[in-house]
């Protein structure tokens, strides 16, 4: 995918993303009183990159590593019977015990809440965390399930005919969050 600076409105630029990650890292530490039994689990794929950035920031602040995992929620989706073809699976890699942990689920965009429902079911099959918290870079509203984020980078009111596109350096793009109208969004291959 190529960047299209002419299309869409920039919600966060590189510095904005950095500041949001930094603030969320501090908030996570404040809420959990340090890194004690803390763990971060990113949702494939965007959430994994954000989770790693958060872990790096937390490590810098606390001088102590926090474990990071990756969770693929595809097999827990509620629309597998509706979609025409099966979505591509990605890896679930959680190289630590979840039991008794304070797990912060991390995703790039919070929208309907269905992904988070699937992620919580997925986590519960892998262990019994003490708590599950939710951190997102963007909350764009339009929830369809009773789910809310504990840590939010930026709240953005959006229309149903709009899409939020998060591009990150880890995927070979420029760090940026764009708000796109649907026509432009589908040209970028973004699913709402």
């Amino acid at each position: 995918m190529t960047s299209q600076p002419d299309h869409g409105r920039t919600l966060l630029d590189r510095d904005g993303i950095q500041r949001a990650v930094s603030r969320i890292a501090h908030e996570i530490l404040e809420r959990n009183k340090g890194v004690g039994r803390l763990a971060l689990v990113g949702i494939q794929r965007g959430g994994v990159y954000i989770a790693r950035r958060l872990a790096k920031k937390i490590g810098e602040i606390e001088k102590s590593d926090v474990p990071v995992g990756a969770l693929d929620i595809t097999l827990y989706r509620d629309d597998l019977n509706i979609k025409k073809a099966q979505p591509t699976l990605r890896k679930t890699e959680i190289p630590f015990e979840l039991d008794e942990r304070h797990v912060v689920l991390v995703d790039d965009v919070l929208y309907t809440g269905r992904t988070i429902r699937a992620a919580m079911d997925g986590l519960m099959d892998l262990g019994r965390p003490q708590t599950i918290q939710l951190a997102v870079l963007i909350d764009r509203g339009h929830r369809e399930l009773p789910i809310r984020a504990d840590y939010v980078g930026k709240n953005v009111p959006t229309g149903q005919d709009e899409s939020v596109h998060v591009s990150l350096e880890e995927e070979g793009e420029e760090d940026r969050v764009l708000l796109l109208k649907h026509a432009a969004a589908s040209a970028k291959g973004v699913t709402p």
């Binding site: 827990y76 591509t88 699976l89 679930t92």
Partner: protein
Amino acid sequence: MTSKQKHLLSMQELSVERITEILTTAESFKEVSGREIKKVPALRGKTVVNLFYEPSTRTRTSFELAAKRLSADVVNIAPGSSSATKGESLIDTARNIEAMKTDILVVRHSMAGAPALLARRLSCSVINAGDGSHEHPTQALLDLYTIKEKKGRIDGLTVVIAGDLLHSRVARSNLYGLVAMGAKVRLAGPGTMLPPLMGTWIDAAPGQVERFTDLDKAIDGADVIMMLRLQTERQSGSFFPSVKEYARLYGLNGERVAKANPDVLIMHPGPINRGVEIAPEVADGLSSVILEQVTNGVAIRMAVLYLLSGGAST
């Protein structure tokens, strides 16, 4: 997004992209089988029927576990206890099963082409779990997966397929799969058991497929040795003077393995005839990945069931 393909009938019909997609998907499912709770809800509400007209332990159990770990419901139908004994035809049996709203039919049959016939007549998905001496695609896929996992690649490797090539559906499926993925294949066995069709295979992939009647020459410098079971139940004539002689000339023993590449992989689709095509010390030896093939088989079948059960009916 994955391509929409309803049946899995043979390796011959699979593109390199599709094979790669199945192998990659299986990596995710192998992780599921390693969990304490070995279950995901992906196929909740789907029904998988194992219709096996030939005896099977490994393949049937593997499909059953794969379906159960995906949360599908599974029904097993064995030959002796089915209406086939009352003279019902294969198509009638299958259509009756389908009338009970089943989603995926896994078929093993002694007749080549039986799963393809059912695929044409039924609206549910059909998976070939072995048809006569024709094909056994999920076995080839799990073999490819095991090779890729152990060697890091398939492209450019030299793979020996040795033994009863004439009766082996595993050999045919693996030949198509290995050639597609860029491996060099050496087919080794007694001259009487090299199938007549082999010429066309060699013509189709010049330089990539070779035939050997001398096992020692075939395994010289090979990266993988895939032994085939001597299928006495399918043999109608005499192909070699005695089993003892076959074991001496075409059995994989410690002496032969000692002369092979030190990092050679020894594979066998099972069930093994210990002391015939493979010596016990080789089957249980350090180079053997026979049980890992079985482990990977569940992941491959989960991947195939998942990809074939793709969403809304068209």
